[in-house]
Symmetry: C2
Subunit: 384 residues, 2 copies
C-alpha cells in the first residue's frame, strides 16, 4: 500500500446545533477542511456516522452529503461501527487512497443527537450493544459500563475517587479548545459529589453526547511535494473486534480488540508504547480510559488509575491524553468522535494546539472504541 | 492496486426467515462461502446492510457477526449506501485486499425486513431518499419511482405494457433459482391486470422485500495458485453519486451515477458494453431496468424498453439480464442485494447457473443502485 498522509483538517464545535441539519454539519466541517488544505475537490468521501437512520430518518448519507458539498458524482459511502464509526471511515479512506483507487479522499465524521428526546437517544445508542442479550434485558450503555467499572473496583481494589484525574484532566484541557462542548473547570470535590447515573458511574465519569462534525483530507504522501505543508503521515492503522456482549468475554476487564489493534499499529509503525508522545483515547466513561491504557501497554493490568494519580496523563506528563478535552469534555457525537480525535492529533503534530500543546509532539496515537469494546480501531500519526 | 478475485460464494434463500436473526442469516451465508472456498477463516469482514439499526435495533454488526461466526478479533465493519450497501461493502473489501492491508476478506450483505410491520419497513426504506425534501413530503420509495416512470412514459411515448418483458423475464429466470423468493411464472396478462401500487407502478413492476444474506470471499489473484478453482477476477469496480432527490437532477430520466460508474468500470477493464455477456442490473422497479440499460450504454436514450420487447434480455438473447431472477423475483433484501448480484454473476461465470446458464459466459457486469439513483456501484467480473 502506498503511504497516506493528512493534508487538511476541519471541525464544527460540539454542542446543540438545532439550526443545522446533518448535511449542514458535515458540510461545514468538510469546507473547513478543503480550505485548510487549499483544495476545492476530492475523489471520494467516506462518512463515519452511527445514528442518522434512527434519529434523523436519513440514510444514504453518501449521496446526501456529496450533493450538498457541491461534489455530486464522486464516490461516497457511510461506514458504521457504532461509536468507532469515525475511525472506521478514516481507515476506509486510508485504504482507498493507499490502494491507488482514488488520489484523494475526504473523511467526515458526523452525528446529530440532541434534537431527539433523551430516551430516544439512549435507545439508539443501545444499538451498539447486543440487542438480544444486553439491550433487550434493559441494559443501557451507561449501565453496561457501570457493570465493568464495578467489577474493576472490586477486582483491583481501587476507589472510585482514584478515577477523578481522568475527568479533571479532560475538562482542564477542553478549556483551551474552542470547539469543545464543555468549558468548565472541575475539581475533585465536584467529581466526588456529582450526581449518580448508574452506580459507580456518576455524571462526571460520563462523556456528554452532542451534535458535531469533523473532517480530514487524505492524499498519497508522494503527492506532498505539491503542497507547502508539514506532512502528517499515517504510520499505523489497524482495526479489531471482540465479542459484542461483555458477558461473552473471557475477561470483561481486558479490551482485547484494543490490544490487537494497538499491537498491529505499533508493528506497522515500528514503534513501542514508549515512543508515543500523546494519546487521544476513547474516554466515553472514565473506566474506558483505564482499560484502554492497560490494553495498549501504557500501564500494567489493574494499574491504569496510577497514570492519572501520578500526573502522567497531563499535558506536561509522560503520556498526555485527551489533550483537547477528550470525549469527556470536547464531547462525544458518536460517529464523529473518531475524526475529532484525528483532527486533534494533527493539531498537536502541527503545533497548533495552543495552550494544550504537547512539547515536541512528533508521534500521536488515537483510539476509537465501538460498543463496550466490540470494535476498536487504533491509528498512529507521525509528523515528518 | 493488486488484482483481486473471488474464491468463494454463499447465500441463503430470500424469504420470510422469522426463525433467524440478522446474525444467523449472515452467518449461514458466510459459512456456506467458507465451505465453498474450502477455507476456515479470513482477515476481515465487510458487511453491507441498510436497516439493522432501524428495524432490528442492532448496529455494530461488525462486532456482532465476527463474534457469531467464530472469528472475534478480525477487522469488521458495516458499510451503508442505502440499497447499494451490498456493492459498497464489496468495493470496500476489494480495496482492503487490493491495498494489501488484508490478505483475505469476507463480504456479506444481509437484511432482515419482514419481521417489522409493513408501514415500518416502508418508512425505513424512505430513509434512502432526501428526508427533508422527499420523505417528509409523504413520498414513499415506490411513489418516487412512480413519478420517474410516469415522466418516462410521457417523455418517450412508451406504453406501460412495454415494460412487461422485464418482469416476465425475471420471474421466468427465478423459476430455476432455488434461492429466489418468488417461483411464479407470470404472463403479460398477469402483468397488465396486477394490482396498482402507485400509478403507473403496479405490483408486478415492483420487487418484493425479503430477509436474506449473500457472501463472497475475496483474495489476491496471485494467491490463486494455492487454490484448485476457476479464477473469477474483478476487472472493474467503480462507485459514483448523484443528487439524492430526483427533483435536483438536471434530467430525472438519466442515471448519471450509473453512467459514471459504468464508464469507469469499462475503462478499468478495457472493455465496452458490447463485450458484456450478461448484466445483473438493479430492477427494484421495472423503470430502473430501463434507465440502467440506457445510462450504461446498452440502449439509446429513451429506447431501453426495446431490449425487452425484442428479446435481447432473455437468457439466450444478446444481453441477458437478471439471469437468476433479479430483484423482481429473486427478491430485494436491500443491503444484501448487491452481494446476491455478485454471487449470481459468479455462478454464471463458473457455469453453475443450471437452466438459466448463459452460454460461454466469460464477462459479467453487476450494478447496484442506492436510493433513486443517488449512489450507483458497478462491477465487472471476468472468468480467467
Amino acid at each position: 500500500m502506498r503511504e497516506v498522509a493528512i493534508l487538511g483538517i476541519g471541525q464544527t464545535s460540539v454542542g446543540e446545533h438545532w439550526d443545522k441539519s446533518i448535511k449542514e454539519l458535515a458540510g461545514t466541517a468538510i469546507l473547513a477542511t478543503l480550505n485548510d488544505a487549499k483544495q476545492d475537490t476530492a475523489d471520494a468521501l467516506f462518512i463515519g456516522n452511527m445514528l442518522s437512520g434512527i434519529l434523523s430518518k436519513q440514510e444514504n448519507l453518501g449521496g446526501l452529503i456529496s450533493d450538498w458539498i457541491g461534489l455530486p458524482g464522486i464516490e461516497a459511502e457511510k461506514v458504521e461501527a457504532a461509536c468507532s464509526s469515525g475511525a472506521a471511515a478514516f481507515r476506509a479512506g486510508v485504504m482507498a487512497v493507499g490502494s491507488g483507487e482514488v488520489d484523494s479522499a475526504l473523511v467526515v465524521g458526523v452525528e446529530k443527537m440532541t434534537e431527539s428526546l433523551p430516551i430516544e437517544t439512549t435507545e439508539a445508542l443501545a444499538t451498539a450493544a447486543d440487542a438480544d442479550y444486553e439491550s433487550a434485558q434493559g441494559l443501557s450503555f451507561v449501565a453496561i459500563n457501570a457493570l465493568v467499572m464495578q467489577l474493576y473496583l472490586y477486582t483491583y481494589g481501587w476507589k472510585h475517587t482514584d478515577f477523578a484525574p481522568f475527568s479533571i484532566n479532560a475538562h482542564s484541557n477542553a478549556l483551551h479548545n474552542p470547539y469543545a462542548r464543555l468549558h468548565e473547570k472541575i475539581t475533585e470535590k465536584d467529581y466526588i459529589s456529582a450526581r449518580m447515573i448508574a452506580d459507580p458511574i456518576n455524571l462526571l465519569d460520563a462523556s456528554p453526547i452532542g451534535d458535531g462534525a469533523a473532517a480530514v483530507l487524505l492524499v498519497p504522501i508522494d503527492s506532498f511535494n505539491k503542497y507547502p505543508r508539514r506532512i502528517i503521515n499515517i504510520v499505523g492503522s489497524a482495526s479489531a473486534t471482540d465479542s459484542i456482549a461483555i458477558h461473552s468475554r473471557k475477561d470483561p476487564l481486558w479490551l482485547s480488540a484494543a490490544e490487537i489493534s494497538a499491537q498491529k499499529a505499533f508493528d506497522q509503525a515500528g514503534l513501542a508504547p514508549a515512543d508515543i508522545d500523546f494519546f487521544e483515547l476513547h474516554d466515553a466513561f472514565s473506566i474506558m480510559s483505564v482499560l484502554s491504557l492497560e490494553a495498549c501497554g501504557f500501564a500494567e493490568r489493574g494499574n491504569g488509575p496510577r497514570l492519572g494519580l501520578d500526573g502522567s496523563i497531563a499535558i506536561n506528563g509522560k503520556l498526555p491524553i485527551t489533550t483537547r478535552g477528550g470525549l469527556k469534555a470536547r464531547g462525544h457525537p458518536v460517529g464523529a468522535t473518531g475524526i475529532y480525535q484525528i483532527v486533534e492529533a494533527v493539531q498537536q503534530l502541527r503545533g497548533e494546539a495552543d495552550r494544550t500543546q504537547v512539547r515536541n509532539a512528533r508521534i500521536g496515537m488515537t483510539q476509537n472504541i465501538g460498543g463496550s469494546g466490540a470494535t476498536i480501531i487504533t491509528h498512529i500519526l507521525k509528523a515528518q
